[in-house]
């Protein structure tokens, strides 16, 4: 259970950085804003409570690793990395511009704090597994966290990695599914059904925790349960809302990728400020 102070800090941080995602979306012309909003609390909890990282030494060998397997959520990740001090927030003015360090999908070679380059779906879980196995082999006690989209679970390589993680008992790996129930073309269950997702991962040898992905108490409890698990890799299926916090974007597949004009930006900011 979080203290009131801790919960308020996480919620205030989430709200403040949601606003920044909207600002970047406005200034650069378009981002994957819907998914950036659904994944947001998971990343905030990790970056502001759990990840053992050093913004002054982004490649510190014993740091915890974070993989945004749903690389299109890069705008949300970049805003957090800037706020953590990995680089100057002013650099985000160049987001998605020619020659910018930031594409929509972040590259570890140009964005400090990014551990692996993602964007092509289905790569993040095996990349994270490699870092987990590498750490364990070398006696490093860091933990690897990987956030996947739900749509990308349609990629076969995710299930190859799911098998391997349980085969190798990669308990220093914790995966999340940002279960916002939409991919680009529509609802996942009508495009290519994923349910019963919990049973699928259980059958692949994972411990499955199902939570509300916007509730910090549930997120933090699940992460701590995952950290303590010593038998199986843990996957946290986080029930989320695409476009969360922006009333006119919520649960709309059309906001998978989009830009906002000044009026929409103001409406979005107003909606975010009304969040609890």
């Amino acid at each position: 259970m979080l203290s009131n102070k801790e919960r308020k800090f996480l919620e205030d941080t989430a709200r403040r950085l949601r606003e920044r995602i909207v600002e970047v979306t406005y200034s650069c012309g378009g981002t994957h804003i819907g998914g950036a909003m659904s994944q947001h609390e998971l990343l905030i909890a990790l970056y502001y409570k759990y990840l053992n990282i050093d913004p002054t030494n982004p490649r510190w060998p014993n740091r915890d690793r974070f993989v945004l397997s749903k690389g299109h959520g890069g705008v949300g990740h970049a805003v957090i990395l800037a706020d953590k001090g990995f680089f100057d927030t002013a650099l985000l003015d160049d987001f998605n511009k020619t020659g910018s360090p930031f594409g929509m999908h972040l590259d570890w070679q140009t964005v400090p704090g990014v551990d692996v380059s993602t964007g092509s779906l289905g790569h993040g879980l095996p990349l994270a597994l490699g870092m987990a196995l590498g750490g364990r082999l070398q006696g490093l006690d860091y933990h690897v966290y990987c956030v996947m989209s739900d749509g990308e679970l349609q990629e076969g390589s995710i299930w190859e990695a799911a098998m391997a993680a349980s085969q190798f008992k990669a308990t220093n790996l914790t995966a999340f599914v940002d279960r916002n129930k939409f991919s680009l073309d529509g609802p996942t269950e009508s495009i290519m059904a994923l349910e019963p997702l919990d049973k699928k991962f259980e059958a692949f040898g994972w411990r499955v925790l199902s939570i509300d992905g916007h509730d910090f108490d549930q997120i933090c409890e699940a992460i701590e349960t995952a950290q303590a698990e010593k038998e199986k890799p843990v996957i946290i299926i986080a029930d989320t809302i695409k476009g969360k916090g922006i009333d006119f974007m919520e649960n709309q597949a059309a906001w998978h990728y989009a830009g906002v004009d000044a009026a929409m930006r103001d409406k979005a900011l107003e909606s975010i400020r009304k969040m609890k």
């Binding site: 570890w108 380059s117 990349l127 597994l129 490699g130 870092m131 590498g134 070398q138 098998m163």
Partner: protein, 335 residues
């Protein structure tokens, strides 16, 4: 011998090409604890299983799932390990191609792929198990070093050199039963530098992989007929030894490339690019699979059928010697 790592292969005559690389890799692994070995249920077939026997704690079998294996190797490399991945060429280069491109090459990860059963070396397995596309595919990935050693000794040298360099490397070998080209480990080997196996002034045969041995035999037979054939063992396809190619054009004016691979995108294309860029004219022929799927058969039969053995190369030498090409700046007589 590569600096830093020391290894010896005793009793090489009784070992196949694949067994020798397995042995060398294991010896290197015993000296360098950063080296880890990965396979996709082909430990026995690829001979990386030797590593499994000797260093089980640094050996990972990912089952029949190549894409996952490549991405995991990338993640391992991020932590400072040197993963050596072995599977059949067809799966490494095609099944897992986008993972090789995105997770190894684009992300500049220090992973070495040893792709076995390349070309038609697993000829009787059928065309699904042939791999005549990998040199072409791997060449296009920026940052990838591509090597096709001629025999077991070269493979051992290539594996050792690959581990000593930083960055992704694709080493393409056969099934492991190919006869040796070299007589011992005692020859100069440097990634990106062709080995001149025969001096010659009339024509140059630039070969790679298993076909190098056949090129040498063809050159020796041509010599008996009074034709002087230079043979270059172009074990590294990328970066290509452009200087050796251009020197061959300058000296012999007739070039033949030979590869157990498609004529599209592999050694022949790389050499043709180098010749075109040099601005020098020459007679030129590419031997390989001419935009067709190779048929089922014993490897030695297939090399013969597709004119990649000594007979085929010798025949092509005859054709190229007769081939006309523009040697001066006056093109009027060519029209």
């Amino acid at each position: 011998m590569a600096q830093g790592l020391t290894w010896t292969v005793e009793d090489a005559d009784s070992m196949t090409q694949a067994e020798i690389y397995g042995e060398v890799l294991t010896q290197i692994g015993q000296q360098n604890e950063k080296v880890v070995a990965l396979t996709a249920d082909l430990a026995k077939s690829t001979k990386i299983g030797r590593f499994w026997e000797k260093i089980p704690e640094r050996f990972y079998n990912f089952g029949i799932a190549e894409a996952n294996m490549i991405a995991v190797a990338s993640g391992m490399a991020e932590t400072g390990l040197i993963p050596v991945v072995s599977t059949f060429a067809t799966f490494a280069s095609m099944r897992a191609a986008e993972f090789v491109r995105t997770d190894l090459c684009y992300q500049k990860r220090n992973v070495k792929i040893i792709a076995t059963h390349s070309g038609t070396s697993f000829g009787t397995a059928g065309t699904t198990h042939h791999c005549i596309e990998d040199l072409s595919i791997m060449r296009t990935f920026p940052g990838m070093t591509v090597i096709a050693p001629a025999d077991a000794y070269e493979t051992a040298r290539a594996v050792s050199a690959a581990i000593e360099m930083e960055g992704p490397v694709y080493i393409r070998i056969g099934r492991g039963f190919e006869p040796p080209l070299h007589k011992s480990m005692d020859f100069d080997f440097e990634i990106g530098k062709a080995i001149e196996l025969r001096e010659g002034t009339d024509v140059t045969v630039i070969a790679t992989g298993v076909t190098v041995l056949h090129a040498v035999e063809a050159a020796d037979r041509a010599q008996q007929q009074g034709v002087s054939v230079r043979v270059l063992d172009m074990h590294t396809i990328k970066p290509l030894d452009v200087e050796a190619v251009v020197r061959a054009v300058q000296d012999t004016r007739r070039i033949i490339t030979v590869e157990d691979h498609s004529t599209i995108g592999g050694l022949g294309t790389a050499v043709a690019d180098a010749i075109a860029a040099s601005g020098k004219g020459c007679a030129f022929a590419k031997l390989g699979y001419q935009d067709e799927y190779s048929i089922v058969g014993y490897p030695e039969d297939l090399l013969h059928i597709y004119k990649l053995d000594a007979d085929g190369i010798l025949e092509t030498i005859g054709l190229v010697l007769k081939q006309d090409f523009e040697q001066d700046e006056n093109w009027e007589d060519e029209i």
